[in-house]
Symmetry: C2
Subunit: 365 residues, 2 copies
């Protein structure tokens, strides 16, 4: 990822000097680009809770870093088992519904069970955090590599005209450590000199599209246009979208894709207009326990203030009068029948049980 | 329509005393309810141009009123033909793309050609404006009457549970003189004691849903919930919508419906979930010259500021950083195959050429 022409990652682990973690503070984006150094467990915890870092993969890495800092702060002589348990338990509460956070914390707790000394635990925690970070980056890079041919093929058919990609929400590097998921094939194509243009759904209510994805694309120099969430169907009807690429928060073994609210509407429009619709995701987000996403995945209902108010440069304003109730559903489920394919770090597969299980098996071999 | 418990119309023609027109100033809604008295052609012209009055049917009536006031201001001895031509020509420019405005102005010009005296023209202009207003109200009331059984039937099946209606944008009384189009069956059902609940799409970028439709429903005492435009598909997947009712800016003889951007996405979701999808419209909005809406109807591209900025209580804020281009399409076309039916003042018909032409013929008999 590039910001103001310089290479960054959303999180950096500082081991020379005082142990610390430096992050891009996402609460100021896109209007202010601020780096922030976190020097303690509590500072990392607050950064996750206050969404200074956000995005499932990034939160997992940040949590691991926080636990490492917690161990660095722990005075020698403390009970190690108690300390690890308490740090992991506390960190798990930073964002109650974040699956990656809980996954990372749980794995780390098990991993740290293999040492008896505080010094050993500190070293292992650092190793765990660094490995998790590295594996998130390489998964995203591999998603980019596997998704790239889809864009290249369209570019060849279009003979030099830009490939029009529509995306929803932010499945970019800001949500990950680098590359992003849905954006990885786009950045790869752009760097390979293939002309691309991205339609960015603004993504109400939190506007992750216009605030975050547009920021990323602008900094990377990728041509793009921000549109309202209402516009994608019209664009597809008129041949102005060649492919839809979105992320996924949770994918069932049968290929149903749970992603930011509104994704399903874009999948319907893509299907109706014969536009390929792909979800890009690390295999860790595939939940093999589930099949029928719409029936089995509980959808988070968030506070109404996100719908009632809008925030931006100039403050916070009220959009509707008092006295009208609002509802704010965070995600929806796109049924597998509307999904052309899944792009993962192991390769691409159809959104279909047998293929998904085969891919997971192949990847583990 | 009721506001603060009192009956209103969006426009009132004042003939006792100084000729004037009084309107609800829609620019302040939903935060400030202001009536405004317009006493001259220029004041009406500005009110239309600045969108103090908006909505296709209402603009037509307001334009007619403005021309009447223009004739009242005309000194005797003026050349009548020249005056009428000039007033009509000027009024036609208040909103360049408003079809109803041009239609009303054209009809009025022809109608006023039947008199030779200024006094006669004044009287005829007033008659024309009053008749147009009356016919808009009765068309909307008839739409309500014809649409009502659709809601009633669902209510009977649901045995007393509220009928959940989803609507997009504002096709309510604020866009008309009274009743509205898509809202007319809802208000009728509510007054008949049938329990209804309306999901109101906020309708980015101009937020006519959260600003205007929610205001109307609140004032009428109709239970409703404002949602983002992204949410409707999820609701329909979970059986939380019984019927979709929208307006139409232009309908082709083959039944394609051009309406506010995003309508097409809701129609796709309704179709995918077997939810009936109806457009409510006066027959005057059926354009028998057109068949294939997506191919033949030019879609207005509006200024990007509507996407970049948001306005509300607390001012105007910028939602995305500078440097990202935006696009702002005003309308989209829902193909007839996704439309369950059209609700008009002549009755309901399927969105299909033979039925539409039969309905138009029957209505004219």
């Amino acid at each position: 990822m590039r910001i103001q022409g310089k290479h960054y990652e959303t999180i950096r682990i500082e081991t020379s000097g005082t142990p610390a973690v430096s992050i891009i503070d996402q609460t100021g984006l896109p209007f202010a680009f601020r780096l922030r150094t976190l020097r303690s467990f509590d500072e990392v915890f607050s950064a996750i809770r206050d969404m200074r870092v956000r995005g499932a993969p990034l939160i997992g890495v940040a949590a691991a870093c926080g636990i490492w800092l917690g161990l660095e702060e722990t005075p020698s002589g403390s009970d190690l088992k108690d300390t690890v348990r308490s740090l992991c338990e506390r960190m798990g509460k930073a964002r109650p519904t974040a699956v990656n956070l809980h996954c990372a914390v749980k794995k780390m707790e098990t991993f740290l069970g293999n040492t008896e000394t505080l010094a050993g635990a500190r070293e292992m925690a650092l190793t765990f955090a660094e490995n998790l970070k590295r594996s998130e980056i390489s998964a995203c890079r591999a998603i980019g590599k596997h998704g790239f041919p889809l864009i290249k093929e369209i570019a060849e058919k279009k003979k030099g005209a830009p490939v029009n990609i529509l995306t929803h929400c932010n499945a970019g590097w800001l949500a990950c450590v680098d590359w992003g998921t849905a954006t990885a094939p786009v950045y790869k194509a752009h760097r390979e000199g293939i002309p691309v243009h991205v339609w960015v759904d603004e993504t109400r209510p939190r506007l992750q599209g216009s605030r975050l994805t547009a920021f990323e694309l602008k900094e990377e120099g990728v041509p793009h246009t921000v549109i309202t969430d209402n516009a994608g169907g019209h664009l597809m009807q008129h041949g102005m979208v060649d492919i839809v690429l979105v992320g996924s928060d949770r994918t069932t073994r049968c290929g149903d894709v749970c992603n930011k609210i509104g994704t399903y509407l874009k999948a319907l429009a893509a299907y109706d207009n014969h536009v390929p619709f792909y979800a890009a995701l690390p295999v860790s987000s595939i939940d093999t326990d589930l099949c029928d996403g719409a029936a089995e995945i509980p959808i988070e209902e968030r506070g109404g203030d996100e719908v009632i108010f809008a925030e931006g440069k100039g403050g916070r304003i009220r959009l509707l009068a008092e006295g009208s109730p609002v509802a704010n559903f965070g995600f929806d489920v796109t049924p597998a029948r509307l999904v052309t394919g899944l792009i993962t770090e192991y390769g691409i597969c159809r959104a279909e049980k047998a293929e998904i299980l085969r891919l997971l098996q192949k990847g583990e071999e």
